[in-house]
């Protein structure tokens, strides 16, 4: 009998049909090509932004193109770039050499935990670069190649780098567990720099960088736009409290320059946190100023290259000098603090024209900020509360059961762990911690940091957000938690989405929004609405008898 064709029943043998195998291909990792699945990668940087920033190889291209239009001598550029960085950054050289592949970091990355792609194990992410290092920069690798763990640099390797270095949020959770202190985030940073040499950027990072270089902030808000925005906030604060707050803009000789991420200007719920700062500064009578030039605390340069960090960060000290302030206060942001704490002083300092920050209300000297002259608002507010400078009624937040997400950078890069908790406990009666292995130094990333917070890679972000979302859902089920507080502008955007998927209907709030709920402002009316202009039932009930006292209507 002739062999049956594929469209005839007899072609199929029952025994074979019963055997099915969904297992991934058994090839070694070096030989498994990257599968660019939509939802996992980010759109490339547009040519006009690269041109604006004088970055190499500006062109329009798509990740799905076969030809990424790399420069002709791309290989030379990458190897030379590696050589240069190996000699410039000692950490990079050490991290390339000392990994013993013990695997302690392997299962600590939220992308691996949520997605299961082995190349998202931090040790493997680093290996993507290390294999090239071995082949081209070590004696053994030059001779033995693959046997010594080295591999040839090809276009496929470059594509793989692009895919996986933009699946790392540079959160540094893995480094907490590495016995050698290898920081995969730094390897990612270098990997992205090398990609940048070929003109391979993602638009969600490089557009904000170009905006920031032009207007002073990522969103491209111009001075009059910022003024309008803050005035609009002031109107809502007045509607809520009856108090008209000042908006000091570019005020020369102010004591303090205040800088916050621009996400707080346009995106809810960050906007309400921004109103929280404004109300607080008004209440304590702080002599401060906003700047329409240093109008961005965040720094997407961190997700681009060391050079770009420096270019964007420079405006903060420049503006502090121009305005003649004494010190700088910074808002609730995550990666902004990694830059300020880790790079600003050496890149753009020393700011010897500034004074060591001292709270004008409590006299506390912030010695920890002696070199950078910049204080985190959480330190500042915690100090105010500690010295009894704020009249707070935590019962105003009784409609909220709150948990706290340690944002990766303030927690792991700065160790700001106690201050936010101290503030939260003073402004809320119902605060519940998530499980210990998901908070503080071990906190799980939101999955959208380091330039990944766009929407075209949403599947990837939800995989990365699963460990965090899972812990939120746990406290939601156990304690009835309905709000997640955080002190990072990216978190306020991305965690809202993470909660919408993994733990609805938990919503996200900044800490100073909660402070503003509890703050008893001098001369305020009986508040019935918060800064979101939502009516709060128990506020209304309290306000009602007072309303009658004035004997206005219901007799």
């Amino acid at each position: 009998m002739a062999e049956a064709k594929f469209d005839e029943m007899d072609h199929y043998k029952q025994a074979e049909l019963m055997k099915f195998d969904f297992r991934p291909p058994p090839t070694g990792w070096m030989d498994t090509p990257t599968d660019f699945r939509p939802g996992s990668w980010i759109y490339p940087g547009k040519a006009k932004h690269l041109e604006y920033l004088d970055l190499p190889n500006p062109r329009e291209w798509a990740v799905t193109d076969e030809d990424w239009q790399l420069p002709k001598n791309w290989k030379e550029i990458v190897l030379e770039g590696m050589r240069e960085r190996l000699s410039r950054y000692r950490t990079f050289k050490i991290f390339m050499d000392i990994c013993v592949r013990c695997g302690a970091c392997a299962d600590k990355c939220h992308f691996f935990i949520g997605g299961g792609d082995p190349k998202n194990m931090p040790v493997m992410r680093a290996e993507l670069l290390r294999s090239i290092y071995r082949k081209d920069f070590t004696a053994l690798g030059k001779v033995f190649g693959k046997l010594a763990g080295g591999r040839e640099l090809t276009v496929d390797v470059i594509k793989e780098w692009f895919y996986y270095f933009f699946q790392c949020t540079e959160c540094r959770r893995c480094s907490v567990f590495c016995p050698y202190g290898i920081d995969t985030a730094e390897i990612t940073i270098i990997g992205r720099e090398l990609l940048g040499l070929l003109g391979l950027y993602v638009n969600w990072v490089i557009e904000p960088v170009a905006n920031c270089f032009r207007t002073g902030n990522h969103l491209g808000i111009q001075p009059h736009g910022l003024k309008d925005t803050l005035e609009f906030f002031a109107e809502d604060i007045e509607d809520s409290t009856g108090i008209k707050v000042d908006i000091p803009l570019n005020k020369k000789g102010a004591e303090v320059l205040f800088v916050t991420p621009s996400g707080d200007f346009l995106a809810d719920p960050g906007t309400y946190t921004c109103m929280g700062y404004m109300a607080l500064f008004h209440e304590i009578g702080l002599d401060y100023t906003w700047s329409t030039y240093a109008s961005e605390g965040g720094n997407f340069g961190l997700f681009t290259s060391h050079e770009t960090i420096k270019r964007l960060n420079a405006k903060i000290y420049a503006e502090a000098k121009r305005l003649g302030v004494k010190w700088i206060l910074g808002g609730e942001c995550g990666h902004m603090w990694r830059v300020l704490n880790q790079y600003m002083d050496t890149m753009n300092g020393p700011p010897d024209f500034l004074e060591v920050p001292k709270s004008p209300l409590t006299g506390t000297v912030f010695d920890n900020a002696r070199s950078t002259k910049m204080v985190h608002i959480m330190e500042f507010t915690a100090d105010l509360i500690r010295h009894g400078k704020l009249k707070l009624d935590p019962s105003r937040n009784d409609h909220i059961k709150v948990t706290f997400h340690d944002s990766c950078n303030p927690a792991r890069a700065m160790g700001i762990l106690e201050e936010p908790r101290y503030v939260l406990k003073n402004v809320c009666n119902n605060f519940y911690e998530m499980p210990p292995n998901t908070i503080r130094e071990q906190t799980f990333c939101c999955g959208g940091g380091a330039g990944l917070g766009t929407d075209e890679n949403m599947e990837m972000r939800l995989r990365g957000g699963l460990p965090r979302g899972n812990a939120v859902r746990y406290v939601q089920d156990k304690f009835g938690v309905n709000e997640l507080a955080c002190m990072c502008a990216i978190d306020r955007a991305t965690l809202t989405t993470v909660c919408d998927y993994w733990a609805p209907p938990v919503r996200v709030t900044g800490i100073h929004e909660l402070v503003s709920n509890a703050l008893q402002m001098k001369g305020a009316k009986d508040r019935e609405v918060n800064f979101r202009l939502e009516e709060i039932e128990h506020w209304k009930q309290k306000a009602a008898p007072a309303g009658r006292k004035e004997g206005s209507s219901d007799v």
Binding site: M18, F20, D21, F22, R23, P24, D35, R37, G39, S40, A106, D107, F112, I113, G114, G115, G116, D117, P118, M121, D228, T229, F232, E235, F265, L266, A267, D268, G270, T271, P435, N437, T438, D455, M458, E459, L462, R463, L466, P467, N470, A471, Y474, A493, T494, T496, T497, D500, Y501
Partner: protein, 170 residues
């Protein structure tokens, strides 16, 4: 002994194989981790696969309580629908249960039990249908939250512009 009794007595073995077979849809490094790490916060996927399969199998063997069965399914499908799977791969783990049961019962599965088996497999089919629903629901949710987030990124601006327009009109 009815087929159900037989299945009950092999419940633990079936559950174990079902869990393992589901793990096999991941790369070896991942399945070893999903299996090995027992802390539910360090390993939410492993925890969901374990709980989900258990809840579903108990429903299949007992009352087909739609609410319970969907809850068990959702634990798993919600995760697999955003992982690196095609739609078919994402729900494939349900179909593997057929094969596992046939293999597990082996010799016992003679022609006298075929009607019972067909009945039981109808339950698995029902499960598969629920899974399609849940899969699509999750994917729809994914697109909704994408849109919501984009809207939120300029929501403060939109409120301001709307307010200005209102003022201009009044």
């Amino acid at each position: 002994m009815t087929l159900k009794d037989l299945l009950h007595s092999s419940r633990a073995a079936i559950l174990k194989r079902w869990f393992e077979k589901t793990l096999e849809t991941y790369a070896p490094d991942a399945s070893a981790f999903f299996d090995g790490q027992k802390d539910r916060f360090a390993n939410p996927v492993g925890k969901a696969l374990r709980t989900g399969t258990r809840v579903m199998l108990d429903c299949l063997l007992g009352e087909m309580d739609a609410e319970k069965i969907c809850a068990g399914l959702e634990e798993i499908v919600k995760i697999r629908s955003i992982q690196d799977f095609t739609p078919a791969q994402a729900v494939s783990f349900i179909f593997s249960l057929r094969q596992i049961i046939r293999e597990e019962l082996g010799q016992e599965l003679d022609s006298s039990r075929l009607t019972e088996l067909a009945e039981f497999e109808t339950r698995i089919d029902q499960l598969a249908l629920f899974a399609f629903d849940i899969y699509v629901k999750c994917r729809e949710r994914l697109y909704e939250i994408r849109v919501d987030e984009v809207k939120r990124s300029v929501s403060g601006l939109m409120r301001r512009l709307n307010r200005e327009e209102e003022k201009a009109q009044s």
